[in-house]
């Protein structure tokens, strides 16, 4: 195909237009939870269960990992997300696994036609680097985890950035949601127990699988590492150049799912009022409407982490008591069981400890 014909095909498919990447934060530039600090992975935790915004890590075996966004990436990029094995588990139980996953919201795949005869093909590209060479797999599965596509890739050279390109055919069967729930799960296996292994590759199958039996177990050896960046998932059968986004756009996309409002010492939370002599409340407005109003308020807690500052006095406290009205755009929070306020008097809430953190989780 000539370059002109190739360009015409790209324009026709929509690939030459902006906003083509179905993956959010593919260059690992946003790390609201850790801001580049190392952390121990805790499965299911809203903070320590993510290696970068939108990239969740699940670890269900006896192994332990640390995660960190690091300044190590292929030429033209700045960051990657890195997992390091700190406790090995060479023998995975049948239902144990380690994986990195990005759930893609259904509203963002409504143009793909998956589950119909018009299902569009996607192309996945990413850079990967690991201390452990060998056979690895990615998995694409739906919300109900009853339709799965497995695709393999190899890491050929240890500790070397390698670019992988994988064609993902669209599924003409099954249910692929186009709501604000998960439409598509895109997953990188780092070790999978036998219950989730399948030898069927390159074709959709019923059920939930994460790898074939020859998948590397990254956790077999202590200090093993695995890094990922430059992830792009786009419509069509041609891998195009990575779409670099301005940071405001990427941050806004991430904050639909996770919003770090206050992190660190002497950071503002919101204006506040004394509701009664023992209770203060304030309303937080989000910079981006969240995916759903069904989010939870998360916070770190400790002695005098937070303060109600007002004319002539301030009152310190350890944690929060409750939430009131909440929408996708904001929430009212309160602290009770305090004393010394005059109802109606105004002030503001702030953090007064370096470990104080207030954040909201509407992740898929």
């Amino acid at each position: 195909m000539s370059k002109a014909a190739e360009l015409a095909a790209l324009i026709g498919s929509g690939q030459a237009q902006g906003n083509k990447n179905l993956i959010i934060n593919g260059a690992m530039t946003i790390d609201e939870r850790h801001d580049g600090s190392s952390f121990t992975v805790v499965n299911g935790n809203s903070r320590t269960g993510y290696i970068a915004d939108r990239f969740r890590v699940n670890e269900t075996s006896g192994a332990e990992f640390t995660g960190q966004t690091v300044a190590d990436a292929p030429v033209g990029f700045e960051y990657s997300s890195k997992l390091t094995v700190t406790t090995a588990d060479a023998s995975l139980g049948s239902t144990e696994f380690h994986r990195v996953i990005q759930p893609i919201e259904g509203k963002n795949i409504s143009n793909l036609g998956w589950g119909t005869s018009n299902a569009k093909t996607l192309t996945l590209t990413f850079y990967v680097k690991s201390s452990v060479t060998g056979q690895y797999y990615i998995s694409v599965f739906n919300n109900a985890a009853d339709r799965t596509l497995l695709k393999g890739y190899t890491i050929d050279s240890a500790n070397t950035w390698e670019k992988k390109t994988i064609t993902i055919i669209g599924d003409q069967s099954g249910t692929w949601l186009t709501t604000n729930a998960v439409g598509i799960h895109l997953m990188w296996s780092l070790g999978t127990g036998s219950s989730y292994q399948s030898s069927t590759l390159d074709a959709y199958q019923a059920g939930f699988y994460m790898a074939k039996s020859d998948q590397v177990n990254l956790a077999a050896t202590n200090s093993s590492t695995w890094q990922l960046t430059c992830v792009q998932l786009e419509v069509g059968e041609v891998a195009t150049a990575f779409e670099h986004e301005d940071v405001t756009t990427t941050l806004s996309k991430c904050q639909r799912y996770f919003y770090s409002h206050t992190n660190g010492d002497t950071k503002t939370i919101c204006n506040a009022n004394a509701y009664a002599s023992n209770m203060v409340f304030g309303t937080i407005h989000f910079p981006t409407s969240m995916r759903t109003s069904s989010y939870a308020l998360h916070y770190t807690s400790g002695t005098n982490y937070f303060r109600f500052y007002r004319a002539g006095a301030n009152t310190d406290f350890d944690d929060w008591s409750g939430i009131n009205e909440r929408t996708e755009a904001g929430i009212t929070i309160y602290k009770s069981s305090l004393s010394g306020f005059t109802a109606g008097h105004a002030g503001w809430l702030l953090s007064i400890n370096a470990s104080a953190h207030v954040y909201f989780d509407a992740e898929l």
Partner: protein, 57 residues
């Protein structure tokens, strides 16, 4: 989730509206909403008999 304690909380009008969860150095205020995955997990633990939610103060 390694939950240390769980207690219902009321909103400013005194109506039961969520669950306050305490973990190691972290807390969560979870709405009573089956679309919230933390709420679903909490209720799974309650159903399994491994977690009891205290009444609101």
């Amino acid at each position: 989730m390694d939950i240390k304690s769980a207690q219902y909380f009321n909103n400013l009008e005194g109506v039961k509206s969520g669950i306050k969860v305490t973990m190691d150095g972290e807390g969560m205020l979870v709405p009573l909403d089956s679309d919230n995955r933390q709420y679903v997990e909490i209720m799974r633990l309650v159903d399994a008999g491994t977690l009891t939610i205290a009444d609101a103060d």
